[in-house]
Structure formats: C-alpha cells, structure tokens
Symmetry: C2
Subunit: 93 residues, 2 copies
Amino acid sequence: MELLRTHIGRSLRASRNSQGRTLREVARQARVSLGYLSEVERGQKEASSELLNSICQALDVELSTVLNDVAHELVSCELNSRDAVKLTVVDAA
Amino acid sequence: MELLRTHIGRSLRASRNSQGRTLREVARQARVSLGYLSEVERGQKEASSELLNSICQALDVELSTVLNDVAHELVSCELNSRDAVKLTVVDAA
C-alpha cells in the first residue's frame, strides 16, 4: 500500500533537484537538520505539518502544489493496483 | 499558516459524517483508538501514513481523494491569504 510520506518526500526531492539546490541549503533555510530533511525526502520520516510548511517555504512551493502532485501520483498507483487485481482475477479464471 | 493535519482531519470527518457513522465504528474498523481518531479529525494529532491508510480503508475512500480535497481547500486558503496581503498593501499605500 502506498504511503503518504513516501510521495510527499518524492515531491519535495523533485522540487529541490529541479532547482539544483543541495540538501544542506534547503535544510538551513527551512531551519531543519540535514538528516531530518534527508529522511523526509526518502520517506523514512513523517514530516510534521509545521516543518512541512517550513520546507515548502524554503523551496518556494505551495503546499497545495505538493499535495496535487502527490494526489496525481497516488491515482496512478491506485489504478495500477486495481489493474493488477483484475489481472490476478483473470489469471485465476 | 494552514496545517496539513487540520485539512486531512476535516476531510476524514466530512467523509465519516456523510456516511452517518460514529467515531467508535470507524475507529474499531480502522483498528485505532477512538481518542486517536478524534484527535486526528480535529487536527490535533499527525496521523502516521500507515494509520491514515487504515482510516481511509475503514471509510472506503481512496487516499488520493482525501488529498485532492485537501489540495483544493488549500488553494482556496492560499488565494484568500494572498488577497489579504494585497489588501494590506493597498491599505498601506
């Protein structure tokens, strides 16, 4: 099952990479530790809502933009997962 | 500033209310405590990604649907907040 923190992390990392910025720069601007930001980006830590806002501000992206990205990615994953279930049912028939 | 957990909580509560279900029923089905679900709905606790999935399953809503709701609400809040800034600038001019 898809986890929200995995997709939020991917979206944040994609924004940072598209700006050619380092973890260190963004972490400093967001006032979070480099380790924390790295774990959030890799989906290994749940970002608190407050720190998620700080990271979005440091990246100059709206939280709504991150969530739209995440919702779109999740829809694709949900559709793929339904297709996989259908294929299993067809295989079993 | 808008907090993700506030909006996720509102969306989950709206789904539960639209189904006419109690906190107790949904909490039992999602295998979370009633207090935890109540705090998540009121935006007082960050739901872990795993428990958010359990709550969505118990409500029979896709996580992507919840996030789409949240993204839409956030866009409205962000636009209102920009309008408020503009008004302040106009007032100050």
